[in-house]
Every structure is written in structure tokens, then in C-alpha cells.
């Protein structure tokens, strides 16, 4: 019995594994040094994809403050095109200090993990469970856009909040913004570092290939081996040269 849903849900891992194997196979099977470098690159890139997909949380947004003191005005203003509701929004957020914290907590893989018992698949399960445990991201946005009736005009902020409370909807919005899901930024940052390392490795590898070409006149591995054998023994050896 093959659990197809289980396999399909983890498609990001399959992409990673397939790419990784393509890369590794290319490195091992190709005799051309440039092709080897390209294979190595694919192999490394697969790991980048793995890290990035691990950090991504379904429906998660970029880790920037949404609805915070400075940035909160924008989405609201965009949604309604008026200043007052935005003020109301930011005031409402002031009531609840640091609304982002909960979002972060929900993002922490370790807390998600500790919630489940350690079993063979605990890691996977927890990771996949984490996003679904939270409301989808689109909720806060919708809430913001539907918040205030346009009749509010130039009400003072405190009043606006009052009105809003009366209206009932903005409280929902407040509730929702407190649970914004952020995609975990750390794996992405790590992979930025790894990409730099990968670029450096590729650069050194290709530079070596250029130098090898200058020294030997070829970048095919078997021809290089033959050239070394001729230099050492005076004739090309059949099969692999002794160590």
C-alpha cells in the first residue's frame, strides 16, 4: 500500500532528492570537468531548495512587521484610502503590545515539535502541522480591507477605536493581525551564506579547469589521466592507473 497523499504532500522533498541525485550522478559519471562543476552546482542548489522549502510556511509572509506602528498605515490606507481608519488600526494595535510575538511563536519549529510525541515521523508531522494550525494569511488582509465604513471621516483616534469596537469588525481584525504567520527567515539567511560559498567553490573550480586546460590542453578526465600516465610511464595505461 502506497500512501500517495503522504508522498504528494512532501513534493518539495522529492524535488530536492531528485535534483540532488541528478547533480551527484553528473559529478560522478561525467568526465568533462566543466560538466562536473555544473553537476556539483545542481547538487548544491538542491540543498538550497531544501533549506528554503523547510523555512517556508504555507501562507506565511515575509518577516516584516505588518500592522505595526510605522508600517501599519500602509495596508489600511491602501484598502480604504482614508487616514482615520488607519489611525484606528494602529491605536488598536497599541493596546496589544507586540502583536508579532504570537506569530513568531507559531513559527518556532521546536515548539511545534515538542507538541507532538517523538516518533519516527515526528519531525515531519510537526512541520506540516504547524502551518495548518494557524489561520491563513489572507485573513488579516481581508479584515483590513473590510474594516471601517467610509463614514468615519476625521474622528479622533480614540473615538475611532471605540467606534470600531462598536462595529465589531475591527476587533476581529485585531485578533487576526495578532496571528500573522511569518515564514521562518533563518534558513533563508543560512542559504544566502551557503550560496556565497557555492559561488566561491564554483569560481575556484572553473578557474582550476581553465588552468588544467592551459597545462594539459584538455579538460576530459580520461585524457588527463592518459597524459599523466604517458608523462610518468611513457605510455597510456589501460584501465585505472595504480594509486
Amino acid at each position: 500500500m502506497i500512501d500517495f497523499a503522504f508522498i504528494a504532500e512532501r513534493y518539495n522533498y522529492w524535488i530536492f532528492i531528485i535534483l540532488m541525485m541528478i547533480g551527484l550522478y553528473t559529478v560522478i559519471s561525467r568526465g568533462n570537468l566543466i560538466k562536473k562543476m555544473v553537476g556539483l552546482n545542481i547538487f548544491q542548489t538542491s540543498v538550497f531548495i531544501y533549506y528554503i522549502s523547510v523555512g517556508k510556511i504555507a501562507g506565511g509572509t515575509a518577516p516584516i512587521l505588518i500592522g505595526g506602528e510605522d508600517h501599519g498605515e500602509e495596508p489600511a490606507a491602501e484598502g480604504v484610502g482614508q487616514a482615520a481608519p488607519a489611525l484606528a488600526q494602529s491605536e488598536a494595535l497599541h493596546a496589544e503590545p507586540f502583536p508579532k510575538i504570537e506569530g513568531f511563536e507559531a513559527n518556532d519549529l521546536s515548539t511545534a515539535l515538542s507538541g507532538t510525541e517523538p516518533g519516527a515521523e515526528a519531525g515531519h508531522e510537526a512541520l506540516h502541522a504547524a502551518p495548518t494550525a494557524n489561520p491563513p494569511l489572507t485573513a488579516p488582509d481581508e479584515a483590513l480591507t473590510t474594516v471601517p465604513p467610509p463614514s468615519f471621516d476625521i474622528a479622533p483616534p480614540a473615538d475611532a477605536a471605540q467606534h470600531a469596537a462598536g462595529a465589531g469588525q475591527p476587533l476581529d481584525a485585531l485578533h487576526q493581525t495578532a496571528e500573522i504567520i511569518y515564514t521562518n527567515p533563518l534558513p533563508h539567511v543560512l542559504i544566502l551564506t551557503a550560496i556565497v560559498v557555492g559561488v566561491a567553490t564554483t569560481a575556484v573550480g572553473l578557474a582550476l579547469a581553465v588552468r588544467i586546460r592551459e597545462a594539459y590542453g584538455t579538460i576530459e578526465e580520461d585524457e588527463l589521466e592518459a597524459a599523466d600516465d604517458i608523462a610518468e610511464f611513457g605510455h597510456a595505461m589501460t584501465g585505472k592507473a595504480g594509486a
Binding site: 559529478v27 540543498v47 515526528a122 519531525g123 533563518l186 567553490t201 582550476l208 597545462a215 588527463l224 599523466d228
Partner: protein, 500 residues
């Protein structure tokens, strides 16, 4: 700012800042002098760190003052303080040694680049050792590896095969590093942290397949970096064709640092109650360690090229370290750590002696060594003493290593392993003895004497070489220093690992 507080970061910051500055210096003697000066400063800092750790216990340095589980931490206990002292000590001996050797083997215009690479390499090795952050290990590992690829390729002036061996090293080293990153990714996925101490806490009791896969990836990745027996193929060529000074430096440090990383991950991150670890000990490290000890040593016997012989011997010696770790006991771990330090000292000295011969004769094949005792007595006796140390003759550090290893084997109830250690030492006696016989007992070859007389190597090479040779003898007699500290370090690691 208090300098003493910032001490742990000095071995990293200093070479990292000094390296690009080296590029600005005019080719000639100046880059070498500058780099040597820096290496001595670093050695002084590392010795100060070692003294501090030995007196006051673990140092935890928070980089940029960010608290550990989130910020990067440099965590120095006795185990890495010892490796720091070894790496910086070998650097402090090899850097002054390098000048004459590099002048003949490398284009003079390239010398600033060469010394820059050496400093970057040193930064990477020290960084791997000092850091307490798992991802940081990868970054520093690649800093040291990428500079090593470039350094090995610089041997192309003498032999173009340096280029292909550097390329192969690059491919294998990158695969190893990438495996290591995959392993880290899996661990991060399971725990959500990268700090080693934090990882250890969060991994406790976690035995699922994600962690097991992470462990396997890390084992294979580091196994490639440390040239664990069947994954050693990059090593002999890289050591053979690299410039002699580079061979001396990386043979004494690079693989030792990788062994340290393995120990660090096994004992500090995973711990002994991780069931997979004990399986890895019995089914991976023990057989591969033994296989390396014998097969690589046997291959070494039949080498015509002395550098290649020493390279295969390195693979064999790494077998001893893996064997020590595989017992999973405090004594075994102590033996492995002692051998990490001691092997660094003896291989450094041996490769330096070969570098002296290469300088004077331009040849690293066995035939060139014939009858050298008359012409290059200092070099010859340096080779003989450190060779005896490699075999494990009493009064040398090699004996201390073997003594602790055999003791650990008996204590672990593995008497067969104890005998195998002794038996493989006999193989070492064969390949070292072969060269020593050529150097000491044979008459010089006719052709060499006819053309031009061979002089002793210059003092700038002989003195650093003999410093290491004397260290070989000194630490062989005064065992309380290396062996004592390594035993304490092993005890501390075992406490963290939750061992018996």
C-alpha cells in the same frame, strides 16, 4: 574595551583582517615576514586561551554580544583549546619555515597571494575549532577548504598534476561539505536551533528518523573531510603535489580539525544516549578505522614518492583516531584527542623534512633520499626522530598515543584491537624504516655527488623544523601536558555526552 574579554575572538579576527592586507604588500620577503608575525601573535593568543580554559573552565564568547541560542557563540572547552593550540602552533612553525621553500616552488609574483591563502586557511581551521554554532562550522570549514584547493593548485609550477588533484579535492570536499549542510538542515528541522549546546538539549530523547538521517549525513560529510578510509581518495594526490610548505601545514592541521569536528558532533551534539551513535561506533568507525590502519599503511609501504607515502600514512593514522573514538569510552576519546595533537606534531615535522629535501634536491622520490645523512644531517635526523615518533618508539609522542590507545582498547575489552594497533605500528616501522635506511645507511648516489654538492637546508627552515622535532620529544617525556589536558578534555566531553 578589555582585551582579555575579547581574547577568544582574536584568533579569528586577526588572520581574517590580516589576510587581505597581505595582498597589498609588495612581493618578496615582506609578505612572509608579516604573515609570520601574525601567526606568532595568534599562537600567543591561543596559548593564552588554553591557559585560561585550563585554569578557569569553559569560555563562552558571544559574538556581537547576542545571547547564545540565537546569536553565534564561541565556546571553548579544553578539547578545542587544545586543537586551537595545535593548529596555531603548527602555523607558527610552518609560516617562518615556508619562505625558502615557497621562493623556489612558487612564482615570486604570486607570493602575496600564497601567504594570503595561508592566513585565510588558518582562519578557517581556527574558526571551525573555536565556534559553538553548527552552521558556523560549515562556513569556516569551507573557508579553509576553498583556500586549500587554491593552495594545492599552486604546486602546479613544479608538477601540473597539482591542478587535477586540486580539482578532485574540490569536487570531493564540496560533496562532503554539502552532505554536512544537509545533515545540519535535518537537525535544524527537528530542533529549530543551530547552537551546539542548545542542539544537545533539544536532541535529548529525540530518536526519530529525521535526526538519524541528519546524523548519517554529518558522519559522511565530515568523513570525507577527514579522509576516513574509503573516502580518502582526494588526500594522497593533494598532499603529494601541493607546495611542500602547504603539505606540511595541511597534513598537520586540516584532517585533525575535521576529526575534532566529528568528536564535537558525536559527543557534544548527539551524546551517547542517541542510539544511532553507538551503532555508528561499532559498524562504521571501528571497522573503517581498522581498515584504514592496515590498508592505507600497507599501500604506504609501496610508494616511490615520499610525500605520497606520508600521505597514505596520514590516512592510516586517522584510523587510530577513529578507533579511539569508536570505543565510546573516556579513555578511547582521550587517546583519540592525544593522537590528534601528537600526529599533528609528527606529520608536521616529517613533511617539513621532506620540504627541506625538495628544496635542495628538487626531488621527492625515495631515490633522492639516498645517503642524505652525510649531506643534510639536521634534516635527516629530524626525519629519523619524527619517523620514530610515527612508529611509536618510547620517548616520543607517538609512543604516548599508542600507549593510551592500547590501554583504551584493553579497558574497552577489545583485546583484538589492541593487538591490531601494535601490528599496524609494525607496518609503519617498515615504511619509515625503508626511508631511514636509505638516508642513514646508504652511500650517496654517484650522480648526485658528481654534479654539485648538496648543502644542508637553510637555518630558516631547520630551526622551525627542529622546534617541532623537539616538541615531539618533549611532549613524549612530559606527558602530563598533552595527555593530561586531553584526558581532562575527554572527561568533560563524556560528562556532556552522558557517558559511563
Amino acid at each position: 574595551m578589555n582585551l582579555a574579554e575579547q581574547l577568544p575572538v582574536i584568533p579569528i579576527i586577526l588572520p581574517l583582517v590580516a589576510a587581505p592586507l597581505t595582498l597589498l604588500i609588495r612581493p618578496g620577503r615582506a609578505p612572509w615576514a608579516w604573515v609570520t608575525f601574525i601567526s606568532w601573535l595568534i599562537f600567543a593568543a591561543c596559548v593564552a586561551i588554553l591557559a585560561d580554559v585550563a585554569a578557569n573552565g569553559v569560555i563562552s564568547y558571544h559574538l556581537g554580544d547576542w545571547a547564545p541560542p540565537i546569536g553565534i557563540e564561541y565556546r571553548i572547552d579544553l578539547a578545542n583549546a587544545l586543537v586551537l593550540a595545535l593548529v596555531s602552533g603548527v602555523a607558527a612553525a610552518v609560516f617562518p619555515f615556508a619562505y625558502e621553500s615557497v621562493r623556489t616552488e612558487i612564482d615570486d609574483r604570486q607570493s602575496p597571494f600564497f601567504y594570503t591563502m595561508m592566513l585565510i586557511n588558518l582562519t578557517g581551521l581556527l574558526g571551525v575549532t573555536i565556534t559553538g554554532d553548527a552552521f558556523n562550522v560549515f562556513v569556516f570549514l569551507e573557508i579553509s577548504s576553498i583556500s586549500t584547493y587554491a593552495l594545492v593548485a599552486m604546486g602546479a609550477r613544479r608538477d601540473r598534476r597539482a591542478l587535477t588533484s586540486a580539482f578532485n579535492y574540490l569536487v570531493m570536499g564540496t560533496i562532503g561539505a554539502t552532505f554536512f549542510v544537509i545533515g545540519l538542515g535535518l537537525l535544524y528541522q527537528a530542533t529549530g536551533t543551530l547552537n551546539m549546546a542548545d542542539l544537545h538539549l533539544k536532541l535529548a530523547g529525540l530518536n526519530n528518523r529525521v535526526v538519524e538521517a541528519g546524523f548519517a549525513f554529518i558522519l559522511v560529510g565530515i568523513g570525507l573531510k577527514l579522509a576516513m578510509f574509503p573516502m580518502h581518495l582526494w588526500l594522497p594526490n593533494a598532499y603529494t603535489y601541493a607546495p611542500s610548505a602547504v603539505s606540511a601545514f595541511i597534513a598537520a592541521t586540516a584532517t585533525k580539525v575535521a576529526v575534532y569536528v566529528l568528536v564535537r558532533f558525536f559527543f557534544t551534539v548527539f551524546g551517547l544516549d542517541f542510539a544511532f551513535l553507538t551503532k555508528a561506533f561499532t559498524f562504521v568507525l571501528l571497522p573503517l578505522g581498522l581498515a584504514g590502519m592496515f590498508l592505507a599503511s600497507l599501500v604506504a609501504v609501496f610508494q616511490e614518492d615520499v610525500k605520497r607515502m606520508l600521505a597514505y600514512s596520514s590516512v592510516g593514522q586517522i584510523g587510530y583516531m577513529l578507533l579511539g573514538i569508536s570505543f565510546g569510552t573516556e579513555k578511547g576519546l582521550a587517546a583519540a584527542l592525544i593522537h590528534v595533537v601528537n600526529h599533528g606534531l609528527m606529520k608536521g615535522a616529517l613533511f617539513m623534512a621532506v620540504a627541506c629535501v625538495v628544496l635542495r634536491l628538487g626531488d621527492q622520490r625515495c631515490d633522492a633520499f639516498q645517503g642524505l645523512a652525510r649531506r643534510m644531517p639536521f634534516t635527516t635526523w629530524a626525519f629519523v626522530i619524527s619517523g620514530l615518533s610515527l612508529v611509536g618508539v618510547p620517548m616520543t609522542v607517538g609512543f604516548v598515543s599508542k600507549w593510551y590507545l592500547v590501554n583504551a582498547a584493553f579497558a574497552a575489552g577489545n583485546i583484538a584491537a589492541a593487538f591490531l594497533v601494535v601490528a599496524s605500528s609494525l607496518i609503519a616501522a617498515v615504511y619509515v624504516g625503508r626511508i631511514v635506511e636509505l638516508m642513514v645507511l646508504r652511500e650517496p648516489a654517484e650522480t648526485a655527488s658528481g654534479s654539485r654538492p648538496v648543502k644542508e637546508a637553510p637555518w630558516s627552515m631547520v630551526i622551525p623544523m627542529w622546534v617541532l622535532v623537539i616538541a615531539n620529544i618533549y611532549f613524549g617525556v612530559h606527558t602530563e601536558f598533552t595527555a593530561g589536558l586531553a584526558s581532562q578534555a575527554a572527561a568533560a566531553l563524556m560528562t556532556i555526552a552522558g557517558g559511563r
